[in-house]
């Protein structure tokens, strides 16, 4: 078969989005003095429905007191067609950071047009054009609707909804007992994209290059170079120890509660400042180089945790973090 199961509900979202555009339209009647006589919120529904549900929902007690309540809006999807003018390269890959230390990936979508028909029914011409005039100004001739087409990728796309035509019917001629019908029909096209499945890949955390001195690749390598990401700040809030007394911006020997677990030639983080431990001049005292890794020297109060930046922090790096590199070069006889 073609591939993995996928259903991004894009056409469904376009239907919902299209419906949302017209769900808060009002019809107002005014008294002769201009004051409001009444307000009507125009009900809207998707046209197609299962007949048994329509009967159960709209005629639960088998009978309606009136023929229908007016005005009403109804819309339905009338077609889905490929739009060659918006075709993108099929091999373009969209990537997005994943919260679980991985990236999500998805290939470029296929452009499709979804056609809609919006119908407006009213008892009077004036009410019908009152509704239409609340709609037409926003379509020049299109209205851009921003829809999250793919949830997993947080993929928001501007979907232009183009108003193609407006038709008007007013059947009033004929026998006196014929029904008069005022109907507007608006044709729209929503220019959307259909996306495929979303895959995931972990971030690359190790790069290794082997150097050979012979063309024969089965011969032993001579040099191997390997890099892995290194944390530039603390990630695991290990609080290895605490400051025993406050420090200023210029303190170069800091006193901690217990310096046993702080190795020499390592980086520590106090508050937002990274320091390099270069010596241990006395018990529980650390000689430090301040403001490392692009941080600024700052004051800190006694009791501020001292975090160690080590391999445990390297392991917690994710794709959105700043990082440095651990390098390793190996030579082989």
């Amino acid at each position: 078969m073609l591939g993995t199961y996928t259903y991004n509900q894009i056409i469904r979202k376009c239907v919902i989005g299209f419906g949302t555009l017209f769900n808060d339209i009002e019809v107002r009647k005014n008294n002769a003095d201009g004051s409001t006589y009444s307000r009507m919120k125009v009900p809207l529904a998707y046209g197609s429905r299962q007949k048994f549900l329509a009967r159960l929902e709209q005629q639960a007690d088998l009978n309606q007191k009136v023929a229908i309540t007016l005005p009403r809006l109804s819309f339905e999807m009338t077609g889905v067609s490929y739009d060659a003018s918006r075709k993108l390269s099929a091999i373009t890959l969209n990537l997005k950071a994943d919260t679980t230390n991985a990236v999500k990936k998805q290939y470029a979508p296929v452009p499709y047009n979804v056609d809609f028909e919006l119908n407006i029914i009213s008892k009077t011409n004036d009410d019908a054009i009152e509704i239409v005039e609340q709609i037409l100004p926003y379509f020049q001739p299109s209205y851009n609707m921003t829809i999250k087409l793919v949830d997993a990728m947080e993929e928001f796309r501007d979907v232009p909804v183009v108003l193609n035509s407006v038709n008007y019917t007013d059947d009033y001629e004929g026998s006196m007992d014929d029904r008069k019908l005022t109907l507007f029909t608006l044709q729209f096209t929503a220019k959307t994209y259909i996306f495929g499945p979303v895959g995931t890949s972990g971030p690359i955390k190790k790069a290794k290059v082997d150097y050979h001195t012979e063309v024969d690749l089965t011969a032993p390598r001579r040099v191997s170079y390997q890099v892995t990401p290194a944390a530039v700040s603390d990630k695991n809030k290990d609080a290895t120890t605490e400051l025993a007394e406050k420090i200023t911006k210029t303190t170069l020997v800091i006193e901690v509660l217990d310096s046993t677990d702080i190795p020499l030639k390592t980086y520590i983080e106090i508050g937002n400042e990274v320091m390099y431990v270069k010596s241990k001049p006395a018990t529980n005292k650390l000689g430090v180089r301040r403001a490392q890794k692009n941080t600024s020297a700052a004051e800190a109060v006694a009791g501020t945790p001292v975090d160690l930046i080590n391999a445990a922090d390297d392991a917690l790096l994710d794709s959105s973090d700043d990082f440095g590199f651990n390098e390793m070069t190996s030579f082989y006889g």
Binding site: N23, R49, K51, A54, V301
Partner: protein, 442 residues
């Protein structure tokens, strides 16, 4: 010239015929309600009615001509939902109409033609409890027997209802929601007013203490400092936001503005200094039971709180959480803290059908339903939007409520209404961060 020795309908014969017709109608007919249309306003351009009302009804006997069932196309599923296209033809006596109904219609200036049944008038058909609209009044069938017409044949179809007003529809539960009704909630029980006290130092306010947090405040109450000094002012806040942890060298001060239980804005009065950005977190006071704590994302720059982004506004913050001294004042030997009262529930009893008015907005609406148990009133066709917190008063009953909440979208014709469903589903997928030109302004 016709033969003058034979009569073709004397007045007495016509009376006899009329009486026989009426007797027949009374024996084989049924009682219906005749509901005349009062045409309040017409459109001179499109030649249509703008405002019609149906306030009166008259009982009259009528014969159902199609006694084997409704005429018309029956129940149809259309793109606008189910349309019921039943039609009937009712026969009524011309003389009885004149005697019973015309005399009243002729006095009503809003009735176009009082002498005869009007096209556009309604008939309440008791067998099926339907409203039928008269589409055509046939007065020439049978054709001038004895030189006169005796009956009106009323060709009717089911009424198409477009939120027409009038006493007739006011009590009709099936039609109440049609149009634009909004549920307005009030408090089922009175809120509790907050109280506080003050301590003084050197004649000025030193500290404010909350004795009673209160409940159900719609927005932060005002605080008045009483006593013998001058100049002291204070503010109340319904939420208390602080920065927790991060071992600062100076603590941040944050004030949040709450309205209708949700956090609307946050102001950083002082960003503090020396926060450990990895360890500093935002601490927020707890909402009332069932409430949701807001989601705030702080931004620290070099150990200082510089911004707070509200990603979830939360709910349920209706009690005083913090009293803050704005100005300590001078010359106080004693000071009292007065906090404005919490909203109350209902006073009096509303009457269905009365109009209600908003105390501050002046908006007027018709009360169509009222549920004292669930503490809401349903208002129809409001002329404006009632403000949360304002007093709404019934014009006839004098009953008042303080508006606590409102459900604006959940209205109108519940049988054909997906507006709310689309709104709810659209909230998850549509980005209307700029503006939603068609939506409710928020």
């Amino acid at each position: 010239m016709r033969n003058v020795f034979f009569t073709h309908g004397t007045r007495n014969e016509q009376f006899l015929q009329q009486n026989l017709v009426e007797e027949y109608l009374k024996m084989f007919g049924m009682d219906i309600l005749y509901i005349p249309r009062q045409l309040i306003r017409k459109d001179g351009v499109f030649n249509e009615e703008i405002i019609s009302e149906f306030d009166d009804s008259y009982i009259i006997e009528a014969y159902l001509e199609n006694n084997e069932g409704f005429q018309g196309g029956g129940d149809l599923l259309t793109k606008f939902g189910i349309r019921q296209t039943d039609e009937i033809t009712m026969v009524i006596s011309q003389q009885r109409f004149s005697d019973l109904i015309s005399q009243f219609l002729l006095l009503d200036t809003d009735v176009e033609v009082g002498e005869r049944p009007q096209e556009g008038d309604l008939i309440y058909f008791p067998l099926s409890s339907n409203y039928f609209e008269i589409k055509f009044v046939e007065h020439e069938e049978p054709f001038y027997q004895l030189g006169k017409g005796y009956i009106f044949k009323l060709q009717c179809e089911l009424f198409e209802y477009q939120d027409e007003q009038g006493d007739i529809f006011e009590g009709d539960e099936d039609l109440v929601d049609t149009g634009y009704t909004v549920k307005h909630y009030y408090l089922p029980q009175n809120g509790i007013s907050a109280t506080g006290s003050a301590s003084l130092y050197n004649g000025a306010l030193e500290q404010l203490y909350i004795s009673e947090n209160g409940s159900k405040y719609i927005e932060a109450p005002t605080v008045t400092i009483g006593g013998d000094g001058t100049g002291a002012t204070a503010s109340a806040y319904l939420i208390n936001i602080t920065v927790s942890g991060g071992t600062p060298t100076k603590s941040a001060v944050i004030r949040g503005t709450v309205k209708e239980g949700t956090l609307r804005s946050v102001k950083i009065v002082d960003g503090g200094e020396g926060y450990d950005e990895d360890r500093a977190t935002i601490a927020i006071s707890a909402p009332a039971a069932g409430g949701v704590v807001p989601t705030l994302v702080p931004t620290f720059t070099k150990g200082k709180l510089t911004a707070i982004n509200i990603t979830g506004e939360g709910s349920g913050y209706k009690s005083v959480a913090l009293l803050d001294i704005d100005t300590p004042g001078t010359g106080y030997t004693n000071a009292t803290v007065q906090i404005s009262a919490a909203p109350v529930g209902i006073t009096g009893s509303f009457k269905i059908g009365e109009s209600v008015t908003g105390g501050s907005t002046g908006a007027v609406a018709q009360l169509v339903e009222w549920d004292a148990q669930e503490a809401w009133i349903k208002l129809k066709s409001p002329t404006g939007t009632f403000a949360i917190g304002e007093t709404i008063m019934g014009s006839t009953s004098g009953a008042t409520i303080i508006l606590d909440n409102r459900d604006e979208m959940a209205s109108t014709d519940t049988k054909y209404y997906e507006n709310v469903a689309f709104e709810d589903l659209g909230d998850d997928i549509i980005d209307f961060t700029e503006t939603n030109p068609f939506g409710v302004a928020t």
